[in-house]
Amino acid sequence: MHSTAFFLGKGGVGKTTLSSAFALTLARQGAKVLVASLDPAHNLGDALGLKLSGNATSVEPNLDALEVDLGYWVDKYLEDSRRQLKANYAYNVTLNLDSFFDILKYSPGTEEYAVLWAIEDIHCRLGPLYDVVVFDTPPTALSLRFLSLPTISGLWVKELGKLREKILTKRQTITRLNPDSPVAASCVDKDDDKVYGQLKGIKARLQALEHLFACQSFISVIINPDKLSVDEALRIQEELTKLHVPLSAVCINKQGVSDMEWSQNPSLARYPQFIYDFSRGGISTREDLLGIGADALAERFREASSDTNVKGKKPCN
């Protein structure tokens, strides 16, 4: 069932505004909703009118919100690995470990992984406490990278797993032929090999996230009536198609912000369209957010949710 919604789009199109309005609408309709911001430059708290942290904070009955602290997730992850490494390695090997891990904090890809770990944590730990989890995402570049990570990393993990299996099979053969071989002293069984076990664990986690994005999520792309945001939405659509992640809705925000003539791109026009007028008076309260009118989008979400429920027994493509 769809219990997770993602709002994607170019920076400044209104992802935070629409995701807050959508979450608020569902909450006012009686669903228990958590809205989480994954954007390192958070402004979800500003939109909802209260200070948020990495822990779920009650906004109003049925609605909680949090702003993911990516720094915390990077530190936690590296600290876990450092502790595990210290426990497993000989003391002299781990002498310079602190400086090594300090550098790893800035390694390319770490921030994208931190977003993934945060999503995984919210989905697995907090998800069961809510009917719906809404994610307000960072601008396109970072969002597409974390959405594609389970697939790309999955390929690496699959190939590494195959190589490890080959090594273990050959070690088994050597042990059978020559029990006195030094190889016999090393790990020969898949169940006992910690590296293989770890690869299997990573694979399962990545597959669960891939399944969450492709089969359990309602993904909306937000555009403004301008060429730049539409072009970026097209790139998002293209990337999502490559990842087999279906797009569920297109939200046209700030309609009427300019007098320039504008028409929807045919590639985006085939998805359900939701139009939101530009609020000339601005949005400063939660009631203003409700005034945007996200009811139709919430209704579409419920329909898609029940539709997936009916098809729930079908394996995800």
Binding site: Y77, L78, S81, Q84, L85, A87, N88, Y89, A90, V93, L104, S107, P108, G109, T110, Y113, L149, I152, S153, W156, V157, L160, L163, R164, K166, I167, K170, R171, T173, I174, L177, N178, D180, S181, P182, V183, S186, K194, V195, Q198, L199, I202
Partner: protein, 93 residues
Amino acid sequence: MPRSFGHILKSAIKIATQLNREKATGLLEFEVKELDNIFALLVLGGFAGLPSPPSPIAIELLPYMEKDLIMLLSRTDLAQDPIGVLAGMLDMG
């Protein structure tokens, strides 16, 4: 007291069998060492500038790869002449 002929024969057969076993598995052991080295290079090569999986995957595997890491470092001694090592294994030259 001198050992009986049967005992000596038994020991000779045991030694010959072990020699044959080692001969039979020698190449396979060399191949496993190479595969182990490739695996370690694939996972940890990113730290030395080689194409590798995203570094967070390497970091997750690193705590369980102490032996692989030690082996990787010891194999660097042979990295200059892998053909020579193989030729030595096959009694060539």
